[in-house]
């Protein structure tokens, strides 16, 4: 028989989610993550979901996997004992970082410790200039001695990062050859392969982070592959990357750093699929869970992409306080705002929420596990937006009186407010914090939030989405079906793809079409070698972009370039594309300035058809509410009588008027006064404003 079952697996911090997609239906399973050997949970869940479907592992056609293993190893500092080999005179670059205080007013600020401590940052006499010329040949004898030192020191992984290697990688390649005499080549990462981009600190940081997680990911992926084979699966295993593309195990083993944040990427892809299905051209994905919220812009059904990301930011999610990595990522802003975020009153008498979270232990005060500080969930409960009897499918008993006490003691009493006003203040502030982050994120990318459709998922989002939308000038919110296992669903919609990058500074006045065409040919070959492993026969789609700027500017603007090859009009075509993009971002172009391209990228993917638009359903009668609840309306702050509806009982096309709450197992959707809501043909709840 032909295999048609596709399995998606997402390992999260608490749960491992699995979705099995069959031609006619899909099944899901949730098992507890097993942090010491994550493949155990995967294999257990796989067996369970297959059994549910009455299938054998041999029936699997494809397994798509995303994991936060690499991210967690970096956050918890549980990676390999790694070393760095670098250009003489530059071993401290990794620690000197940006020579920057990321907290302007904090006299007691601390920088994160580098992943490789100073004794294991070793220097080689060698030097390449900015144009690729060798200024000092590499001292191979010194390198041989370094190899011996590393072997004797019990080093498990190695990063090699030399100055200007993005321009001329020969020294790095030769260094790997020499060091692989004393060291397995499979655990050596070189910067000209991991991140061939200008700016030494960020390139080195990315390469070191890659080396740091190499052995761990290599062994995990091997065990997982063996385990799946032992179950009887012959399906290829593919990995989801932070860019939202999927790749083979071979590539994931060499560049595990590209797997960071693959879970959130899955969420963004889910939002992309829903945007396509629902015909939304300008969407904003809003994912709010227990500890953080994430926001992504999705234009024309493509999530916004970036090439820079920071892992393990210091407690306050402060920019510049984490480990920078330059890899393709779905661009999202992450805020320390979730159901468990703690509320306090600052010395100015202002309510602050987060970024710290009560987590699951002790958890919000209403969990009754010893937490005494009020959280967003406590405030939600005081406002009676949550039914204490059915929170998280009824698995967690909530104690409304503990929530009230926490809100009173920490917020209401110091500010001389009622408990309800304090709770409303907490939810208002957390929503405002998220909205502000979304707005700044949008402006940094030359975009607007107003007029978008919000796609809200994650346990806490459906309660706060409508109010957040109001603050962002958004009139329509969509709460998808089964948002609880969103990321795994998203994996199934991801294309096989890969992106490569090169830094070559090219002023348009000196545009050399032959050189640029050759560069893209080389990049295409590199990308194709990776993509063909997973998509041997597909017709591939290529997208080129240039990171361009006016000569003298420090920040480049990503510009989608016209298809090549380029002829004599190449410079003119690039100029026109740049000016259009720049104008779109900043509202003006600057006359008479020279334009240059610093970095070039090429992404190659199998074209993945997005789901077709589902027509709007015919209007349907809404059933009578299953009950009523008095609660505080988020917009007006007034106490209102809200209708309670079961999500499952609402037919597509039915509309109900706010104030109302739509309840389901994992979450509740709050429909404030002035809004109406109901399922569309695909079952996603659409919330719309009916008036101010």
């Amino acid at each position: 028989m032909t295999q048609t079952a596709r399995l998606a697996v997402d390992i999260g911090g608490t749960f491992t989610d699995l979705v099995l997609q069959l031609p006619d239906r899909s099944l899901s399973a949730k098992v507890l993550t097993t942090p010491d050997a994550p493949e155990r949970a995967v294999l257990k869940g796989t067996a369970a979901v297959l059994e549910q479907a009455g299938l054998a592992a041999a029936d699997l056609a494809l397994v798509i996997h995303g994991t936060t293993l690499a991210t967690n190893a970096l956050i918890e500092r549980k990676g390999a004992k790694a070393a760095l080999v670098t250009t003489e005179g530059f071993r401290d670059s990794l620690e000197i970082a940006y020579e920057h205080r990321f907290e302007q007013y904090d006299l007691y600020m601390e920088r994160p410790e580098p992943l490789v401590s100073r004794p294991w940052r070793l220097e080689v006499p060698e030097r390449v200039a900015a144009d690729g010329t060798v200024l000092l040949p590499m001292d191979e004898v010194a390198l041989t001695m370094i190899g011996e030192t590393l072997a004797a020191g019990g080093i498990e992984a190695l990063a090699i990062s030399f100055l200007h290697s993005y321009q001329n990688p020969e020294h790095e390649i030769r260094a790997r050859e020499i060091l692989s005499r004393t060291f397995p080549a499979s655990v050596i990462a070189i910067s000209s392969e991991v991140c061939p981009e200008i700016r030494e600190y960020e390139r080195t940081s990315t390469t070191v982070a890659n080396a740091y997680v190499l052995p761990l990911m290599e062994s995990y992926l091997r065990r997982l592959e063996e385990g799946l084979r032992a179950l009887g699966s012959r399906a290829p295993l593919l990995l989801i990357m932070s860019s939202g593309g999927i790749t083979t195990v071979e590539t994931a083993r060499r560049f595990p750093i590209r797997l960071v944040e693959s879970g959130p990427a899955g969420g963004a892809i889910l939002a992309q699929l829903i945007a396509a299905q629902s015909g939304i051209d300008r969407a904003l994905a809003f994912d709010m869970g227990g500890t953080t919220a994430k926001i992504t812009m999705i234009d024309d059904q493509k999530p916004q992409q970036a090439r820079h990301f920071e892992i393990a930011r210091a407690a306050r999610f402060v920019k510049g306080s984490g480990i920078p990595v330059r890899v393709p990522v779905i661009d999202m802003v992450e805020i320390g705002a979730g159901g468990g975020s703690i509320a306090r009153v600052d010395p100015l008498g202002r309510i602050t929420v987060g970024p710290d979270s009560a987590g699951s232990m002790p958890g919000p005060a209403c969990y009754g596990r010893g937490g005494t500080l009020p959280t967003v969930t406590d405030a939600d409960l005081v406002l009676r937006w949550i039914d204490p009897a059915r929170f998280a499918g009824g698995h967690i008993d909530l104690h409304p009186e503990a929530a009230g006490t926490a809100c009173r003691e920490t917020v209401a009493t110091p500010l001389s407010m009622s408990v309800e006003q304090a709770a409303l203040g907490i939810t208002e502030i957390v929503t405002e914090t998220m909205a502000n982050a979304a707005r700044v994120h949008a402006v940094e990318n030359g975009k607007e939030t107003a007029g978008r459709t919000m796609i809200a998922f994650g346990g806490a989002a459906p309660l706060h989405a409508a109010r957040m939308a109001q603050k962002l000038g958004i009139h329509r919110v969509l709460v998808p079906v089964g948002a609880g296992v969103g990321s795994a669903h998203g994996f199934l919609g991801a294309p096989i793809g890969y992106e490569v990058v090169r830094t070559r500074l090219v002023p348009l006045t000196a545009f050399d079409a032959v050189m640029v065409n050759a560069l893209f040919t080389e990049m295409r070959a590199e990308a194709e070698a990776v993509v063909r492993l997973g998509a041997p026969d597909a017709l591939l789609r290529e997208v080129r972009s240039g990171f361009m700027r006016y000569r003298g500017q420090g920040h480049e603007v990503p510009v989608v370039l016209p298809d090549g090859p380029y002829g004599t009009d190449g410079a003119e075509r690039l100029r026109a594309t740049f000016e259009t993009t720049y104008h779109g971002l900043y509202g003006r172009t600057i006359p008479g300035l020279e334009i240059e391209v610093l970095t070039w990228t090429l992404s190659l993917a199998e074209p993945k058809p997005l789901p077709a638009r589902i027509p709007d359903p015919a209007p349907a009668e809404a059933p009578a509410p299953s009950g009523w609840r008095r609660l505080m309306d988020p917009g007006t702050g007034a106490e209102v009588e809200a209708a309670i509806h079961n999500r499952a009982a609402l037919p597509p096309g039915a509309r109900i008027q706010g104030p109302a709450v739509i309840v389901e197992a994992e979450t509740s959707t709050l429909v404030p006064q002035g809004f109406q809501a109901g399922p569309n043909a695909a079952g996603h709840i659409v919330i719309e404003r009916t008036g101010r």
Binding site: H100, P119, M417, T433
Partner: protein, 574 residues
């Protein structure tokens, strides 16, 4: 008192204003040309009400612009009263005394109108790459040497750019394209801020910012007053001697904690320098206020209410209150030192809270080549002009080591070596921690850096040196020792001065050794395990372990505890 929901609304609008100015600042960073703005974040951005009160300011790289830009809007309104401004008008200046302290900083102010009525002013400042005159040199003797001086004037009238001014700028600066590009960036960032503010006002149906502004200013003032009320009343004095240019400079301060204000007076400080290291009062005020606020109330957002609680005075014709026509290009040499003097005062009344002295002054490298500077070949002398931002070690904190290669009080960032090398013929052969430069202490001072730079061209290049702590080091606190002094020299051996223009001959290298921060507490009380680590990591010289810290190490590098105890006891008895 308004209703509690109004209470929350005020908070939300306040947060929103902070996010508006953050967007304004981001727009500037992303569109700016000068490395100071785009790589180092040397900018400021803020929103003001129509009386010129600053309501919110972006947290950017430069405390130096804080008070100065805040005050400058008042000067603009004096020259161009609010009632005379029209939609599309944009104002500009680089007046050191009415702007932010030297000609390199351009300040642009844009009024915002709602339904035809002026509701707010947006202001922003950036440091441009060049302003003509002597360039990045502290050798000017009067402000007239220092380049183009733009008095308070219109940059645009009702949407039309002042092309005459732009042409004068182009003709007077070495990098006309970049400087004019930066002027456009300043205009764009105010426009962005204005749009966002109007969005907010429409959403919340605000006709003006009067009520909100009043609330922000009065609450911040009250919060500062509450912080100050908890401090012991009194006056404390401190002083610090720094290298200066032609003679050492004394910076002296008396800090008085009053009922609801902190007063800092700089009487006793040195008179003016004949060179460009003089500091206008606006800039003195800026760094003093930053230092006080970082120590007392870092969490209160910056606005007129906050700043009014810190009153800074200085006698005229001193180096901290330099009048026109004193040369002021290098005013940051003085300004960056002022928090250290303030902390000398605060340490007496709030012991255990403030850091030891640090390098404080930035060690930015302004490297140049060109006709008349490094050669006489006319256009045949390859020209470049680049400034990279660098820092020595910061002072140790009461419970933490000082940060190495990190600026304080400035908050700028460095420029990657690969970027500098891509746009100049320079090669940086070394950029690393300078071993042993951190001041000894229970908490060690931060380390400086050592850099070695050469040119790939067979030609000389030059440095506009303007460095401090070359003779007088950053002092330790509470028994901590001083950081190493900074040095400038040639690879061939000769020493260079830490101030003034000097040539690096063809084929030679420039060696830069940046100072370390002061230590905190008795070095003999430092945890021997940390001393052992510092030796193992190469952060201190092996002989410093015994010499400074009284720690004896075993052959394997671990502390020999009995011998350490004996040595420390002997030291303590001395």
């Amino acid at each position: 008192m308004r209703s509690p929901l109004g209470e929350i609304e005020i908070q939300i609008l306040w947060d929103r204003l902070l996010s508006v100015v953050e967007e304004q600042a981001q727009t500037l960073v992303r569109t700016a040309f000068s490395t100071a703005a785009r790589e180092a974040g040397d900018i400021s951005a803020g929103v003001f009400d129509m009386q010129g009160r600053m309501l919110a300011q972006a947290v950017t790289g430069t405390p130096g612009h804080i008070n100065s830009m805040a005050r400058s809007v008042v000067h603009f309104l004096d020259a161009f009263p609010a009632a005379t401004l029209k939609p599309g008008d944009v104002l500009i200046t680089n007046d050191p005394w009415k702007g932010t302290g030297h000609l390199f900083d351009l300040t642009v102010v844009t009024p915002v109108f709602l339904e035809g009525r002026g509701v707010a002013l947006f202001a922003c400042t950036t440091h441009v790459v060049d302003i003509g005159g002597l360039g990045s040199s502290v050798e000017g003797r009067q402000v007239y040497h220092e380049g183009l001086y733009i008095p308070l004037m219109h940059l645009a009238r009702e949407g039309r750019m002042n092309d005459d001014l732009l042409n004068i700028v182009r003709a007077n600066v070495r990098e006309p394209v970049q400087v004019v590009g930066d002027i456009y960036a300043l205009v764009a960032c105010n426009e962005k801020g204005g749009q966002r503010l109007l969005d907010m006002m429409r959403e919340y149906e605000l006709a003006d910012l009067e009520e909100l502004g009043e609330q922000i200013v009065s609450r911040s003032r009250r919060a500062m007053a509450e912080v100050i009320a908890k401090l012991p009343r009194g006056s404390w004095s401190a002083s610090m001697i720094i290298d200066g240019f032609e003679a050492p400079v004394t910076l002296a301060a008396t800090l008085t904690i009053g009922e609801d204000r902190v007063l800092v007076d700089f009487a006793g400080s040195s008179g003016l320098s004949g060179y460009a290291i003089n500091c206008p009062l606006c800039y003195t005020e800026a760094y003093t206020a930053f230092g006080v606020k970082a120590a007392l109330a870092p969490w209160i957002p910056n606005n007129t209410g906050t700043l009014d609680a810190i009153v800074v005075t200085a006698p005229e014709n001193t180096i901290v209150n330099a009048p026109h026509p004193a040369a002021v290009y290098g005013r940051s040499l003085i300004g960056h030192m002022l928090p250290d003097v303030v902390y000398g005062c605060l340490n007496q009344t709030m012991p255990g809270t403030v850091p030891a002295e640090g390098t404080s002054n930035l060690w930015n490298l302004s490297l140049v080549a060109g006709h008349g500077l490094t050669g006489t070949g006319g256009t045949g002398t390859r020209a470049f002009n680049v400034t990279t931002f660098h820092s020595g070690g910061a002072g140790a904190r009461p419970r933490q080591d000082g940060l190495s290669a990190t600026p304080f009080p400035s908050g700028v960032r460095n420029v990657p070596v690969e970027i500098t090398e891509a746009i100049t013929p320079l090669v940086v052969w070394r950029k690393e921690f300078r071993r042993g430069s951190g001041g000894p202490g229970r908490q060690r001072g931060g380390l400086g850096q050592r850099m070695e730079i050469a040119s790939r061209d067979d030609a000389a290049f030059g440095i506009h040196a303007r460095f401090e702590r070359g003779v007088h080091p950053a002092r330790g606190r509470e028994g901590g020792g001083p950081g190493a002094t900074g040095r400038l020299g040639l690879g061939s051996g000769a020493a260079l001065r830490v101030k003034g223009f000097q040539r690096i001959p063809a084929g030679d290298r420039l060696i830069v050794e940046m100072p370390g921060g002061g230590g905190y507490g008795d070095p003999l009380a430092r945890d021997p395990a940390l001393v052992a680590r510092d030796v193992r990591y190469g952060l201190i010289e092996p002989d410093q372990a015994a010499e400074h810290y009284g720690v004896v190490l075993h052959q394997d590098g671990t502390p020999d505890e009995p011998r350490t105890a004996t040595l420390r006891a002997a030291r303590a008895a001395r």
